[in-house]
C-alpha cells in the first residue's frame, strides 16, 4: 500500500492532492504540461445548466501574498461538459469531483442528476459559496436552512457522494457545516474564497470590474486552517481542505487540522507544476515527521 493514499466517500485516492475547482479548468491546459494521472483527484470547474460567460474584465487582481478574482462561473454548460470535457479526462487514471453550481435549486438538481452519471465522476462538490455571482452561489451557503434543503434535494438525485463547498463569508461556519451534514452531505470542502476588494492607487476605484472579488492564495491560509479545525470538531463527515496551499508543509498543516485531503488552487497559477511537486515531496515530509501513513496525521492537532 502506498504511504500517501487516503479514502473518502466515493474516492479512493492514491494521494490526497487535487487541484481546486476554478483553478484548473477542465484539465486540458495542464495536461499539456504533465500526466494528470499523478493527481489524487481533479475538482473540475463549476458547471451550470446553461453556458455562462462570466463577469466583465479585469477579473483578477494581485494583493499581498494573494489574489482577488471575479470570474463569475464562466463555463460551457452542462451539455458540453458532459460531451466534451469529461470524456477528455477519461484518458487519465484519476477520479473526478464535479463542481455543481446554479441559480435555483432546480438548476443544482438538474446538473447533479446528469453529471453524476458520467463514468469518471466519483463525487460532486456543491458550489454554494461562490462570492462572484449575484444569484445562487453564496446565497445558498450563508443560510443553514436553505443549505440543508439544497443538499437534501441534490442527495435525492445524485448517483455519487455529495460534498458541499463552504463559504468563509459567514458569521459561524460550524453552523453551516452541521446543517449540510444533517442534510445528508457525505463530506465538506472548505474554504471558498473570502470576499475582498482592492482599490486602484490613482483613481481610488475598485481594480476588479465586479467591484469585489474572492481572495485566495497564501494570505488566506490561517483563516482556512482555523475553519477546518473548528468544523472537524463539530462534524463526523470528512473534510477536503483548501486555502493557500503551496507546498507539502501546507498539506500537513491542513491534514493536522482535520482535512482528509487537500486541494491546491491559486498556487497552480504561480507554479503550474505545484501539484506533482507536492505529491513528490510528501513521502520525505512524512519521513521527517516519523509518520508511516499520511492518514495517521488527519486531525492530529485535536489529539
Amino acid at each position: 500500500m502506498s504511504r500517501i493514499n487516503v479514502e473518502l466517500p466515493g474516492l479512493d485516492l492514491k494521494n490526497p492532492i487535487m487541484p481546486a475547482s476554478g483553478c484548473f479548468g477542465f484539465g486540458r491546459e495542464y495536461a499539456q504540461l504533465y500526466d494528470l494521472s499523478v493527481l489524487g483527484s481533479i475538482m473540475i470547474k463549476a458547471t451550470t445548466v446553461e453556458t455562462r460567460l462570466g463577469n466583465p474584465t479585469p477579473r483578477v487582481a494581485e494583493t499581498p501574498a494573494g489574489m482577488l478574482n471575479a470570474i463569475g462561473l464562466q463555463n460551457p454548460g452542462l451539455e458540453k461538459v458532459m460531451k466534451q470535457e469529461l470524456p477528455f479526462l477519461e484518458k487519465y487514471d484519476v477520479p473526478i469531483i464535479a463542481n455543481v453550481a446554479g441559480t435555483l435549486t432546480e438548476d443544482y438538481v438538474q446538473v447533479a442528476e446528469s453529471i453524476s452519471t458520467a463514468p469518471n465522476v466519483k463525487a460532486l462538490e456543491l458550489n454554494i459559496s461562490c462570492p462572484n455571482v449575484k444569484h445562487g452561489g453564496i446565497t445558498f451557503g450563508t443560510d443553514p436552512v436553505i443549505a440543508r434543503e439544497l443538499v437534501e434535494a441534490v442527495k435525492a438525485v445524485s448517483k455519487v457522494p455529495v460534498y458541499v463547498k463552504l463559504s468563509p463569508n459567514v458569521t459561524d461556519i460550524v453552523e453551516i457545516a452541521k446543517a449540510v451534514e444533517a442534510g445528508g452531505a457525505d463530506g465538506i470542502t472548505m474554504i471558498n474564497t473570502l470576499v475582498g476588494m482592492r482599490l486602484d492607487e490613482r483613481t481610488g476605484k475598485p481594480v476588479i470590474a465586479n467591484g469585489t472579488g474572492g481572495l485566495s492564495g497564501p494570505a488566506v491560509k490561517p483563516v482556512a486552517i482555523r475553519m477546518v479545525y473548528e468544523v472537524y470538531k463539530a462534524v463526523n463527515i470528512p473534510i477536503i481542505g483548501m486555502g493557500g496551499v503551496t507546498n507539502a508543509q501546507d498539506v500537513i498543516d491542513f491534514m493536522s487540522a482535520g482535512a482528509s485531503a487537500v486541494a491546491v488552487g491559486t498556487a497552480n497559477f504561480v507554479d503550474p507544476f505545484v501539484c506533482p511537486n507536492i505529491i513528490e515531496a510528501l513521502p520525505a515530509k512524512l519521513e521527517e515527521l516519523g509518520v508511516k501513513q499520511i492518514k495517521e496525521i488527519i486531525g492530529r492537532s485535536h489529539r
Binding site: 479548468g25 479585469p58 494573494g66
Partner: protein, 257 residues
C-alpha cells in the same frame, strides 16, 4: 510546447526611462515565435504572488537567447529589473499564438503599428518579415521622448516613424494622426498597443488584412483560469476568446473592440 525553465540572465540594460531590455538564455528559446509571450516569476517567495506576462522582443535560436523588453512600473517588474547577469529566472513559455509573418506576401509591404510597451513584439516580427523579403513600415507612438527605444534597430529594418503625445520626439500626437498624414501603401498590417489604437486601426483599414495583439489581466497564462477573456464579434463561432491561449494575436475582426 510549453515548458518551465530557469533561464539565465545574459544582459540587463535600462534602454529608456524605466524600460528594460533583458536577455535570457535557455532551451525554451528554440520554440519561440514573434508575438508570443513568456510568463515570468520574479521571486521565489509569494510576494508578489503571480507571474508577469511579458512579450518576446527578439529571438536568437543559435545562441538560445531571447530578449524581453518591459516597463518596470509595478512591484513585480521592479524586482525583475534588479536581476543581474548570471541570475536565474523562472520562466514559463513560450505562451500564446503570435504573429504570422507568412500572412504578408513576399515582395509586398507590411505596416507595423505599435504603442508604448506594445512596440517590442513587433521587432522580431519585423526581422522575420524582412528575412522573407517583405518591406516594413514602422509607425510607433510613445508618451514622451524619454520612454522611446529601438529607433536604430527598427530603422535598420525599414522606414520608421516615431510620434509622441507631447511632441518631444517625432510628430506630436497619436499614431493615428501620423497615419492620416503619411497615407502609407501596404498589403497587411500588424499592431500591438492600447485598445483605442487597435480600434482606430480596424476602422482606418477595413479593406486590409490585419493582426492585432491584445493585453488583458492574466492569472494562469495557459487558458485554465478564464481571467483574460475577450468577447468576440457576433459573426464568429465562439462567444469569447482567451487572450493568453487563443491570442494574444488575433486576426482583425475577431475580438469585439
Amino acid at each position: 510546447m510549453i515548458r518551465q525553465e530557469r533561464m539565465t540572465v545574459v544582459r540587463q540594460v535600462e534602454i529608456a526611462h524605466h524600460i528594460y531590455e533583458l536577455v535570457l538564455q535557455g532551451e525554451i528559446v528554440q520554440d519561440m515565435n514573434p508575438g508570443q509571450f513568456v510568463h515570468v516569476r520574479v521571486s521565489d517567495s509569494f510576494e508578489p504572488l503571480l507571474r508577469r506576462p511579458i512579450s518576446i522582443a527578439s529571438i536568437d535560436r543559435e545562441a538560445s537567447e531571447c530578449t524581453i523588453i518591459y516597463r518596470a512600473e509595478g512591484r513585480g517588474t521592479q524586482i525583475l529589473s534588479q536581476k543581474q547577469v548570471g541570475d536565474q529566472v523562472d520562466v514559463l513559455g513560450p505562451l500564446g499564438n503570435g504573429f504570422s509573418a507568412d500572412a504578408a506576401p513576399e515582395g509586398g509591404t507590411a505596416l507595423l503599428v505599435g504603442g508604448g510597451i506594445g512596440v517590442p513584439p513587433l521587432y522580431e516580427l519585423s526581422k522575420q518579415l524582412n528575412a522573407r523579403g517583405v518591406r516594413t513600415i514602422h509607425v510607433f507612438g510613445f508618451a514622451t521622448e524619454n520612454v522611446t527605444f529601438y529607433e536604430e534597430q527598427f530603422s535598420a529594418l525599414g522606414e520608421t516613424h516615431f510620434v509622441t503625445v507631447d511632441g518631444t520626439k517625432g510628430t506630436k500626437g497619436f499614431v493615428t494622426d501620423l497615419l492620416e498624414e503619411l497615407q502609407p501603401e501596404f498589403d497587411v498590417f500588424y499592431s500591438c498597443g492600447p485598445l483605442p489604437m487597435l480600434r482606430a486601426l480596424e476602422q482606418f483599414y477595413p479593406e486590409k488584412p490585419g493582426f492585432l495583439s491584445f493585453e488583458e489581466r492574466m492569472g494562469c497564462g495557459i487558458g485554465a483560469c478564464f481571467a483574460c477573456i475577450c468577447k468576440t464579434t457576433e459573426n464568429t463561432e465562439k462567444d469569447y476568446v482567451k487572450v493568453c491561449s487563443d491570442g494574444p494575436v488575433f486576426p482583425k475582426g475577431v475580438v469585439e473592440l
